[in-house]
């Protein structure tokens, strides 16, 4: 990085997090002297690796109120989601062919669900309200005698809205349907307990919680009920036959340490995140008009702030925030040239989806960084609005919806 530039500010923790130095330290020996294959059962190199893996597995389990034996190690949350959905579909396909999920889920859930549709499954994609919440009555009404799985995320990756997991779990349990929860964004940020929430399968990712990339986990309930899964990867029968492949020992050790730290520091960190988030929101709201919060005002991830800066296109705003890393729901930042499907599902209008910025705060975010961010965002939005024809019109009292635009 260029030393003459200001130190960049990272506010994209929902995309990925840096590895916590304490996590890295714990991992390092496993790249060196403790290099064994955890599946080597007959010598000390294998035993040492296995011990690291089992300790890690135990820490992962403890974060979500599970048992170590219920943790299947994967390469990340995308694999965990796929394994949960495809694995349940294949194993329980004879019992029923209906799955329920929601329109704002991550693509790692939606795409396997669409794939299953092509294989003859029925999938219900529940809508959400303007704050990103599902309707529990609609969920209940969607359950049929063919329903084998409900897959709903803990926290949305774009807008941070938290689903009512306990209520969903109770409903699933009462109807005898398995409940898979993609907790990629929520784990380590809010309290999760698979027993209290009635969760049967839960996807986790290390790199969203200060662990390394390339390692994740799927919690698979072992009793009441004992959940069975058909594997996607076939081979040496690792991970109780559900996920073959030599284990990523340093990754698992790091993931475990990240979970242990999260468990110990989660509550304190959440308070700090909410305070920083509010500082950012209030700081911007005090200086900018036409500012819209996307997602739920209170039921949201502590570190997530998703805002639409009306009349300013998201990518052009990001261009102005040269030394601040954020993400946008604007079409111009996506490969598909479509604005975010999550924001679209809220019904806020494509015009506001194009104007959205997601700020995601994390463990190493400081007040000083928030203040610098406020300053830069206000300056850039103000400058871009001065060259926005839409801001002129809004200021002149013209209803933009009343104009016949020539769409392209």
């Amino acid at each position: 990085m260029n030393p003459t530039h200001p130190k960049p500010i990272y506010l994209d923790y929902s995309a990925t997090t840096p590895v916590d130095p304490r996590v890295l330290e714990k991992m390092l020996p496993y790249f060196g002297e403790v290099f064994g294959n955890a599946a080597s059962r007959n010598h000390q190199f294998g035993w040492a690796a296995e011990q690291g893996v089992e300790e890690g597995r135990e820490q992962i389990a403890q974060l979500i109120g599970a048992q170590g034996k219920e943790i299947i190690i994967t390469s990340g949350a995308t694999e965990s989601d796929n394994l949960a959905i495809l694995g349940v579909a294949e194993m329980y396909g004879k019992k029923g062919n209906h799955i329920i999920t929601c329109v704002t889920e991550h693509k790692a859930v939606l795409d396997p669900a669409h794939y299953l549709e092509s294989k003859g499954f029925e999938v219900t994609f529940l809508p959400v309200d303007p704050q990103g919440m599902i309707d529990l009555k609609a969920l209940e009404a969607a359950i049929t005698d063919q329903t084998i799985l409900i897959s709903l995320m803990a926290a949305n990756n774009e807008i941070g809205t938290l689903h009512p997991l306990k209520e969903i779990g109770q409903l699933a349990k009462a109807k005898g349907v398995l409940f898979h929860c993609d907790a990629t964004q929520a784990a380590g940020k809010i309290k999760l307990n698979v027993e209290e929430m009635g969760i049967d399968l839960m996807s986790l990712s290390a790199h969203k919680m200060y662990g390394p990339k390339g390692v994740g986990a799927l919690y698979v309930r072992r009793r009441q009920p004992r959940v069975r899964l058909a594997p996607i990867l076939h081979g040496g029968g690792h991970e109780r036959g559900m996920r073959s492949g030599t284990l990523n020992v340093p990754g698992i050790v790091g993931f475990g340490e990240a979970c242990r730290l999260a468990r110990l520091e989660l509550e304190e960190e959440a308070v700090k995140m909410i305070a920083l988030r509010e500082r950012l929101y209030q700081g911007l709201a005090a200086k900018l008009d036409y500012l819209y919060l996307n997602g739920h005002p209170t039921q949201r991830l502590p570190g997530n702030l998703n805002l639409s800066f009306a009349f300013v296109e998201g990518e052009s705003l990001m261009m102005g925030l040269e030394f601040i890393a954020v993400s946008s729901g604007s079409a111009c930042t996506s490969a598909s040239l479509e604005p975010s499907y999550v924001l679209r599902a809220l019904g806020i209008g494509d015009d506001l989806a194009h104007c959205s910025i997601r700020f995601s705060l994390g463990r190493f975010t400081t007040e000083e960084e928030i203040d610098r961010t406020i300053e830069q965002v206000v300056a850039t939005v103000t400058r871009l609005r001065e060259m926005s024809p839409l801001y002129d019109m809004a200021k002149a009292g013209i209803d933009l919806k009343s104009i016949q635009w020539a769409g392209h």
Binding site: V312, S316, A331, L390, W405
Partner: protein
């Protein structure tokens, strides 16, 4: 990710602003739609058949802002007929726009044409 020319126009856009709507020597073109993520307003001031000045306001990504900024520079001094002949590919080439941003240059071309037509309709 962005060419230097796009960055220059984004950071120091040329001819941002508006002319009086009622001025008969001004032609205004507004193209695009908020739902599509870009709206360009381009205005031409015409004297004796020649464009003597231009203004723009754009809601859109950096490439859209750069395309409209460049368009205002290019139309100045041209006759209406010459201005209407500016093509999107010339704009895209000048700014080294990647394929995914070509539509921004198309919008700028459309904005020029719309402004020229508006001027002609008002005479």
């Amino acid at each position: 990710m962005y060419s230097d020319k796009v960055l220059d126009h984004y950071n120091q856009p040329k001819n941002v602003g508006s002319f009086e709507e009622g001025d008969l020597s001004v032609g205004t073109g507004i193209v695009g739609a908020p739902e599509c993520g870009d709206v360009m307003k381009l205005q031409l001031k015409v004297e004796n058949g020649r464009i003597v000045d231009a203004r723009f306001k754009t809601f859109g990504c950096g490439s859209a802002i750069a395309s409209s900024s460049l368009a205002t520079e290019w139309v100045k001094g041209k006759t209406l007929e010459e201005a209407a002949q500016i093509t999107n590919s010339e704009i895209a080439e000048e700014l080294s726009l990647p394929p995914v941003k070509i539509h921004c240059s198309v919008l700028a071309e459309d904005a020029i044409k719309a402004a020229v037509n508006d001027y002609k309709n008002r005479q």
